[in-house]
């Protein structure tokens, strides 16, 4: 029997304290200031979180990490928590020093020397070391030994291109199953964050529908818009189920159905959020555009919907 798909009291308290922290230290205005300054990382905020003991969050369990990720996803907080989720599978990262994982890399090996490239490695600027997978074996590399090109992407989050030209690597115990577990843990964290992001974008949009007047009435009274709002609400409720199920039982099929749903739900929510905001939604002055940019990157990170459908079908034998 699977654990209940409902938050425990402790998890509810955790969500409350994460919300308090986010309200006080990491509102959306913090992300805007970071973006304006061109910063893709927020080491000061991460230091605060680690001081509060949140580096051990992923070791508590994925359901706990998911609760916090959802809260932080609401205000687009810049943390390396996705990489922390994967690091925790290897029992690392509690001190805040996470591993960056080159999940989308192509590498070859010559003894203990690695060659290859990886595009868009998440948290490469915040990490203490790099993890790669080659020849059915996991390796750790010192980031000083590889070529790291930080990227400025639309979501202003820490990511870099990696080029490795014969750097020496240390084997990490663990084969493809461990690598997959790292990847799936990161995926669950990403999904939880996406759930928070879509929830916040939806709530902003719903508030706008109730406040904006045209033709002498609130635009939220129009049935055409009401039905679209209901469809978004539906997508978000289903996403919440997927996140809760995958966090409690992160088997490949469950993680895949969660990520595929979160990808589609988040893109749909943010596209609709911009449209339903009308003119103001197109402006940089309004925050809703940040959500669309985050959505685009998140849905392309740790597996597209097609990738996850493919894996789901393979797991089910067709």
């Amino acid at each position: 029997m699977n654990p209940h798909l409902v938050l425990t009291e402790d998890q509810t308290l955790l969500a409350e304290s994460a919300t308090e922290f986010a309200n006080a230290e990491a509102p959306l205005s913090r992300f805007r200031a970071q973006r304006d300054a061109g910063h893709t990382r927020d080491p000061e905020l991460w230091g605060q979180l680690v001081d509060l003991g949140w580096g051990g969050l992923a070791l508590m369990g994925l359901p706990e990490l998911a609760v916090v990720m959802e809260v932080l996803g609401r205000t687009l907080v810049q943390t390396p928590l996705i990489s922390l989720a994967a690091s925790a599978v290897l029992e690392e990262g509690e001190d805040g020093a996470v591993l960056a994982f080159a999940f989308d890399g192509r590498f070859t090996r010559d003894g203990d020397r690695i060659h290859g490239v990886a595009r868009g490695v998440l948290d490469a600027g915040s990490a203490s070391a790099l993890a790669v997978f080659v020849d059915d074996q996991m390796f750790r590399l010192d980031l000083a030994d590889v070529n790291v090109s930080p990227l400025t992407r639309i979501d202003f989050r820490d990511a870099a291109d990696i080029r490795i030209e014969g750097a020496t690597a240390t084997p990490i115990p663990g084969r493809v199953e461990t690598w997959s577990r790292c990847r799936d843990a990161a995926t669950v964290a990403q999904c939880a964050e996406m759930l928070g992001t879509m929830s916040a974008a939806f709530e902003m949009t719903l508030a706008y529908l109730k406040e904006r007047e045209q033709f002498g009435v609130k635009i939220g009274s129009f049935q055409a818009l009401q039905h679209r709002a209901v469809d978004l609400f539906t997508e978000i409720e289903l996403s919440r189920t997927g996140v809760m199920a995958a966090a409690r039982d992160p088997r490949p099929t469950t993680v895949s159905l969660a990520k595929a749903r979160c990808n589609d739900a988040l893109m749909k929510t943010c596209n609709e959020a911009v449209q339903l905001h009308g003119g103001i939604g197109m402006t940089d002055e309004h925050d809703i555009g940040f959500f669309l940019k985050r959505a685009r990157v998140a849905s392309r990170t740790l597996g597209t919907s097609a990738w996850h459908r493919d894996r789901y079908a393979r797991e089910r034998g067709y």
């Binding site: 209940h4 798909l5 409902v6 719903l206 529908l209 109730k210 009435v217 609130k218 939220g220 009274s221 049935q223 009401q226 039905h227 709002a229 209901v230 469809d231 609400f233 539906t234 409720e237 289903l238 919440r240 189920t241 997927g242 809760m244 199920a245 099929t253 895949s256 159905l257 595929a260 749903r261 097609a306 459908r309 493919d310 789901y312 079908a313 393979r314 089910r316 034998g317 067709y318």
Partner: protein, 348 residues
Amino acid sequence: MLAKGYTAPTWPKAYGGAELSMAEYRIFKEELTRLGLPLPLVGFGLVMIGPILLAAGSDAQKQEHLPKIVRGEIRWCQGYSEPNAGSDLASLGTRAVVDGQELVVNGQKIWTSHADKADWIFCLVRTRTEGKKQAGITFVLIDMETPGISTRPIELISGASPFCEVFFEDVRVPMSHIIGEMHDGWRVAKALLAHERGMVGESVAAGGARAPILSTFNLRDYAIEKVGLSNGELSDPLLRHQIAQSEMDQELMRLTIRRANDRLRVGHQPGPESSIFKIVGTELNMRRWQLAVEIGGLDGLGWEGPEYTDIELAMTRQWLRSRGNAIEGGTSEVQRNIVARHVLGLPK
């Protein structure tokens, strides 16, 4: 089951129930599922009129009807919809006029499931035409043997159906068969409408009613049979993705129902997730059978005849039947109106 009150597990013992709490009832249902047993009693008597009688019936009405429902002795049908009162149910026009100690009923009901086999019908009738349309409706129980009642089955696009039309011509009903107050029937019925929608959604979402021959039918096995595997993957990559999407959606829906039940089990109020069951469950079911006939290709076009397998004939008719899912029990459009208003708080 009957001796222990398990045919109506949550009803008072006085009427033959077992007085289980909702938490105990869920455990009872789970145990039945575990043992592979069906619920001992189903039907409109148990799930619709019984709860209405318990909430709004007089002592005499409860004594007369509830024990018979518990014992499975009589069948009930529901007379709500009319040809001109579907989504806008409150505009119903079947007239009931007081004549001495009786109501005289004239009019027509439609979409009445199993009316041709039912012993009694619970009906909404119009007893007042002036004022707000909701305020002139009365809830009344009518014996189907009463002179002046006739029924006619409705054939659906799938070729069969449980639905009937019911015609009332000077049907005389004792005033003692009114539930609650005269003209107050809308309030009596409304309490159970949401319940009905939840049930339809949950049932459809859990896989939906289907012809017995299709009980083990699934898209994956059917697709493997029709298009085959190469290197362990379905030979049609687009179809493979569509089936994966359908299976993932179904699984997510099952998990969402479980999430709702888990909430109740730990004593929380029903969450907003339950309001989407009918919309999502029916749409997924329709998409599943649509995909089934697409996998069938030319073999999924048969109406009858030996040129098609029994499974494929049943599958094609199930696809046709599934089109009604998003209409019966409250259309998806009405469901969206309700969620928009009552869950999202959007203005009128």
